[in-house]
Symmetry: C2
Subunit: 474 residues, 2 copies
């Protein structure tokens, strides 16, 4: 992209024009929030030190309305085995209408990791990370977060020249990668590594400062103006999976009371120990029809645990601000800053259950969600997390009995609402949704367990055993 | 609170009864969310090690529905001079309908600080902290967060006996204060210190385990059932402050263009340096009528800063989930995890401006807000934060001109909405609200500066000078 030589006045005029275009596009984006075809823009910025990424973002922020351009720059961190690459950044994913620029991002972490560890990342692992990152970005795009990746490059010769001339006050920004930019070998390694992921990046040459800033701003302007092409065709010929017998006719096995008490006592202790001493994070997900016994199950799991050791998340309809983010976003952010043991009373499966049945999600959205969920869970299980998924199955007759009992018992009256009766009317639709869910999300790394709950004692014993079994099958 | 001796069966029956009462009260609290007289309950738990606070909370969580009782236990931290005592906990303040138990809390931090520092806190400072904490809790209560404080006590003799008998697996929970519980001198110091704040605490003797758990649960039940007495009388005879001349007739001083450019260049540089090299956090608050030039002012402040050095917060109407918290909560939480330089385009003063004028806040609420805001700002300025508050004053005629210009200019059209015209119709009410705001919140630690903006160049120079002046008057 080359500009003819312009006079100072012509340059100013051209800058003013670009600035106006940017501001207009920015406000259009801002005003799209909550509307059809709303989107947000996430800008990942990386590159060679002193190539001018900081300066170009600074110039961009002068040309736009700075109030609506958020910039985050955390120092790069090593990719660790116990959190996914997106976890440190999940809270900065922009909501509809927003623009966020991330200096520190998953790619800078990947480079840092590859360059720094005593045992460098091998190429297979490096490429596997890149593939996961691209898949995650594709999920973001499908969920209306446009991702723009910009690499600021600089030749070895220019880098050395610039290093000769930086002054002390600027120096603080040039240690971001903690790398030795005077080492040619290191420079070359970095260049080789980044080529493994930059083919789909916007490439900006940092040589000419004015051109560089302008190119960057124009790339952002293009991203802002891009009308996202989210409308894809849903699968008209969606194949409904067969509802498993375990859901149509839950086992009515009954456990004797004395036996139950003894077993329960032993198992709650064993489960507590297994959860407590597992070095990994543990997620236990409960799904199932209303009154199937999610609350009672959770009570038994935590019975022998200290309240400081676990977190229980009770998931209901998303808040309005959560709807302005990708569907899984509220779960990404929940998994930050919590205990190692996380119990979910309902979960992200709401997307393919209630949101499908009630048509809160479009066909394309819930059909796409299976893969999104599988990737989400795979990223977690690859990062030292065990995911136990339990469907509590109840017969329609038993549910009715429990609803009626709840309505008669003062301290249980609060547990039943009109929603529960309304959901019950859609029993078969929920069974169909559950069948598809098992079919598409019972993966090797995070399988589903179906447990019949018409007899609560039997259910609780089986549920505890299922958790133990999965924790032990490392 | 003594119980007669009961048979095992009678005990079980009595426990079941307590559990039912707790669950019923818990659901009532939960269902109160969003309704009149909704509230939340914050339980602060502290005490002597091994007195059983962990066990009592564990027992409580067995008696209640554990899904709706959140427990947080961060290790105590030293009170530092660069954050307020409430900052580490602000995100755990319960929303309406919720119960949160905080093991680590501001009092445990205070005790840790008093016991640990090489130079112990003197009594005056200790008591000043206690007073600020109580004032903060009173603000919470006024904003529908009931605060219950429970001290678990244990005699020196019993503590030593229990220390003899704990097993290794439990030991992890007994280092929470990092104190040597075998030292009698230390025990006595702690007891003496905590007496300076426990008079308004619920006191539980940890000697008898069963009694202890029950007493704690009953204290929580009482808190849950307590109907909060939030309805207080607003001041019927509220004295409206006189609107300052600077608002009625903003100065129309005009700055010559050449002079302005030169001055501006020098000042943006000086302000950037002053902001960057100030060791404290800096908050700049902009308030004022629409089109008074908040956006343009912010642009000039950040012009010479790197986008990674500052955060801009643009404040509009609160989200629904924010309304379930105390009014200032969204600002408490915003001040976590952000850059040292924070610029607010509108702020917490919305409570006494738009919320007062539009009657979103009741009379009692906005009248109370002045003190709440002053305490909030005092806590911040006591914690290494400078607060610069600027009111941009514009004449009614000039506003009209700018509105019309905005409507005619394509890239400014987005900046004007129907709300702006509606606010303009309430001009005098806003002036009255601003007058009261200056009167009640222009404090020594965070004074207001009024700047006339009919001539933008003059306004920008004055605004930058005002920031410099306040940063230099340490």
């Amino acid at each position: 992209m080359h500009q003819p030589h312009l006079s100072a006045e012509e340059k100013q005029h051209s800058h003013d024009h670009l600035s106006l275009d940017l501001i207009e596009a920015q406000y259009q984006l801002k005003n799209s929030a909550g509307k059809k075809n709303a989107k947000s823009v996430l800008v990942l910025v990386s590159g060679i030190e002193l190539a001018g990424k900081g300066e170009s973002v600074k110039q961009l922020r002068e040309w736009v309305d700075p109030r609506y351009l958020r910039v985050k720059a955390d120092p790069p961190q090593l990719l660790t085995t116990n959190q996914t690459f997106w976890q440190p950044y999940s809270s900065f994913i922009p909501a509809e209408g927003q623009i966020v620029v991330l200096f520190g991002n998953w790619y800078s972490d990947l480079l840092t990791t590859a360059m720094h560890v005593s045992k460098p990342l091998d190429e297979t692992l490096f490429d596997a990370y890149v593939n996961s990152m691209r898949a995650f970005e594709q999920d973001l795009k499908n969920n209306h977060v446009d991702v723009v990746k910009v690499w600021f490059d600089l030749s070895w010769k220019s880098l050395q020249k610039r290093l000769d001339h930086i002054d002390a006050s600027e120096r603080q920004w040039h240690k971001l990668h903690g790398l030795d930019w005077r080492s040619k070998k290191q420079y070359e390694t970095l260049q080789k590594l980044r080529q493994r992921f930059t083919p789909d990046w916007v490439f900006i040459d940092g040589e000419d400062e004015a051109l560089r800033d302008r190119e960057f701003a124009e790339c952002i302007l293009k991203a802002l103006k891009d009308v996202p092409d989210h409308v894809q065709q849903a699968d008209a010929a969606w194949t409904q999976s067969v509802v498993p017998q375990a859901l149509l006719q839950p086992s009515s096995e009954v456990l004797e009371k004395a036996k139950y008490k003894k077993k329960l006592k032993k198992l709650t202790r064993r489960v507590a120990d297994a959860l407590r001493y597992d070095q990994r994070n543990v997620i236990v997900v409960f799904e199932g029809m209303d009154a199937a016994g999610k609350g009672g199950s959770i009570k038994r799991i935590v019975k022998r645990l200290d309240p400081r050791e676990y977190d229980i998340f009770t998931i209901s309809a998303p808040e309005k601000y959560e709807l302005r983010h990708p569907y899984l976003w509220r779960f990404w952010t929940k998994l930050q800053n919590c205990s190692d043991i996380r119990i979910f009373d309902r979960s992200w499966y709401g997307r393919v259950l209630v949101e499908r049945v009630e048509a809160f999600a479009s066909d394309i959205e819930w059909q796409r969600a299976y893969d999104e969920i599988n990737r989400f869970e795979k990223d977690l299980t690859d990062s030292q997390t065990v995911i136990v998924k339990i469907w509590l199955s109840i017969s329609k007759e038993e549910q009715e009995k429990r609803f009626e009992a709840r309505e008669k018992t003062p301290h249980k009256r609060f547990k039943i609402t009109e929603d529960d009766w309304r959901n019950r009317a859609k029993w078969d639709e929920y069974l169909n949704a559950a069948a598809d869910m098992f079919e598409h999300t019972s993966t090797d790394c995070a399988p589903w367990t179906i447990i019949a709950t018409d007899d609560k004692p039997t259910a609780r014993i089986k549920m505890l055993k299922a958790i133990l079994k999965q924790l032990k099958s490392k």
